[in-house]
């Protein structure tokens, strides 16, 4: 099979399988896991746009997600905006937040990027906690309106509706990422990552590019956050917490920073793998250790991620 065909046919086949899953998985638990995996897939693959494709080590990516969560929650609950619109508002505010973070970060390098973006995420969490009359503070917001189409309510359909909304968002996000990566802009990203000085000598403005890439990576991350709030009907400050960050990061790394599909595949694999361990009593702590060890092993043995490894082996 030619590479070209493989790049198109394999994802399409996967998509077809995912589209048929709800016919087989009729109980809501499995569907729920898929929905959570789709959300993490969007987070991880978009994070990979800045981390893998542009080499910006953004430690505040989950801030964009959190901003999306709270935007949708406040829009839908406080202002009564239709949830279908509210989730897209999450993308808008996340992009704006990304712009705020990106402006100072664009000029920095290496560890400083890690530290500033980390500080920003802490700042965002403090803001959410302190503005409790708007955000619900430490306890968050509950009873966020759910989705419906006409008379069809997305509650009590065993998550069928949410499954397809989640899958749809994942597809849109992936198409968006592919479009970005294959555009001339996307190609210039690689140039910056691999040879910054050379890129600058060719007239590519590195800082403008970094700002743009952070903003682009925030859009669907924010939308995913909005969907997360509407789907779970809750917004709570734990989304800024370290646990979510570590999990998403391990998805990016295990999936492979060079690919678009790697983090998505890793999101699906890790969600189901950790969940299958979660049911075993006594292993609750151990599953985090297993994920951390897997992350180290991938970094040591297959720096391109597991999907990158498969690609190299021509499977």
């Amino acid at each position: 099979m030619s590479t070209r065909a493989r790049d198109i046919l394999v994802p399409l086949a996967c998509l077809a399988v995912l589209a048929l899953v709800p016919l087989v998985a009729t109980e809501s638990y499995t569907r729920h896991l898929f929905i959570i995996a789709f959300i993490y897939g969007i987070i991880a693959s978009n994070w990979n746009l800045s981390l893998g494709h542009c080499g910006v080590f953004n430690f505040g990516h989950l801030t964009f997600f959190g901003v999306g969560v709270y935007t949708a929650a406040i829009a839908a609950k406080t202002f009564g905006i239709n949830p279908w619109i509210a989730i897209w508002l999450g993308g808008v505010t996340a992009a704006f937040a990304a712009f705020l973070i990106a402006t100072p970060v664009a000029r920095l390098k290496g560890i400083y990027v890690v530290l500033v973006t980390f500080a920003f995420s802490q700042l965002a969490m403090q803001l959410v906690l302190s503005q409790s009359q708007i955000t619900g503070g430490a306890e968050g917001m509950v009873r966020i309106p759910f989705m419906r189409i006409g008379d069809y309510s997305f509650v009590r359909d065993y998550k069928l509706g949410y499954y397809y909304v989640g899958l749809g968002l994942l597809v849109l996000s992936t198409l968006f990422l592919l479009a970005v990566i294959n555009s001339p802009f996307g190609k210039s990203l690689k140039a910056v990552r691999d040879a910054e000085d050379y890129a600058e000598s060719r007239g590519i403005s590195v800082s403008t590019q970094r700002i743009l890439v952070l903003v682009l990576s925030a859009v669907f991350t924010g939308v995913a956050g909005g969907f997360y709030a509407i789907y779970l009907r809750v917004a709570s400050p734990e989304v800024f917490g370290f646990g979510t960050l570590a999990l998403a990061l391990s998805m990016v790394l295990i999936g492979g920073t060079g690919t678009t599909y790697g983090p998505i595949a890793a999101a699906l694999a890790l969600t189901f793998a950790t969940e299958s361990l979660a049911g075993i009593r006594g292993l609750e702590e151990a599953r985090f250790i297993i994920v951390a060890v897997a992350m180290i092993l991938v970094l040591r043995l297959a720096p391109g991620g597991l999907l990158g490894l498969l690609n190299r082996l021509k499977i």
Partner: protein, 289 residues
């Protein structure tokens, strides 16, 4: 008003001493290897737990416990260097890869501690009981010991890096690895020493802190963040600047708590950190690049 200010001053001194011990360890690894060790706080926690096991559970006394905590943390530090840092030397994005591997080490240590020591809070007895009054503000005698001990330890590290062969070799490796190797310094050994020394400092700090705060698997997280702020303020590099920044941040924090309340203090500290990073990435004491 004056009394409140003095109380803040003393409080800042206690915080500053703690931050100085934490940050100097972080800084030793950073200056020698160019690695930002996110597992530093977790090593501190391990030091506290081991000290507790030896001194309380096994009943061998507090000083033995502190020594054991320091030693175990040091060994773990060497192990982390060997397994999680050394394989990536010379890699193009070594700095960022080691951010991730040390993060993974942090998760493993924290979760492992929870499995080993359980979820219930623990505390060590104090080195000395009773209270001490400084400038009209009262702190526990144990904290007074910490305040006195921190400058001594910092001074010892400073002399070590300045005057001893091993200490100088760490500095040499930090400044130019190849040249260091060419005069016969064993670079990997220097890296292991730096990591071990830094981890020993973390373990010692943790064991001392375990008498003031409570020992939990996540007790290292907050001090790590503060140490990060300190190292950034001081400028990633010199030990003296780091120590100065530690006391400065401790004082600022204590004053902020008085003026703004505990509520907004962390917010302002993070904001300051961002401003310093953006406008003076080499720290407030650091020179231009």
């Amino acid at each position: 008003m004056i009394e409140t200010l003095l109380a803040a001053l003393v409080s800042g001194l206690v915080l500053g001493s703690l931050y100085a011990l934490m940050a100097s360890g972080l800084s030793v690894v950073w200056t020698t290897l160019g690695v930002f060790n996110f597992a530093h706080g977790a090593l501190m926690m391990v030091g506290a737990f081991v000290a507790w096991t030896v001194s309380e559970a096994a009943g061998l006394g507090l000083l033995t416990g502190i020594a054991a905590g320091t030693l175990v943390a040091a060994l773990l530090g060497v192990l982390i260097e060997r397994l999680l840092v050394r394989p990536f030397y010379g890699h193009r994005s070594m700095l960022l890869i080691t951010v991730m591997t040390t993060l993974a080490a942090m998760i493993i240590l924290e979760k492992g501690a929870q499995i080993i020591w359980g979820a219930r809070l623990k505390q060590l007895p104090r080195l000395i009981d009773g209270e001490v009054s400084i400038l009209g503000a009262t702190i526990s005698a144990h904290e007074a010991v910490l305040v006195g001990l921190a400058p001594l330890i910092l001074f010892a590290i400073w002399r070590f890096t300045l005057k001893t062969r091993t200490g100088r070799s760490l500095r040499a490796v930090g400044q130019n690895q190849n040249s260091a190797a060419l005069i016969g310094i064993d670079v990997p050994v220097a890296f292991a020493i730096a990591f071990g020394l830094s981890a020993a400092l973390a373990g010692l700090t943790g064991a001392l802190l375990g008498s003031i705060r409570f020992i939990t698997p996540v007790m290292g997280a907050e001090p790590l963040v503060k140490a990060m702020i300190v190292v950034i303020f001081g400028g990633l590099g010199s030990l003296g600047a780091t120590a100065g920044a530690a006391y400065l941040i401790g004082l600022i924090e204590a004053l902020l708590i008085v003026w703004l309340g505990l509520y907004w203090t962390p917010f302002v500290l993070f904001l300051m950190m961002i401003i310093v990073l953006v406008f003076r990435p080499n720290g407030i004491f650091g020179g231009k690049e």
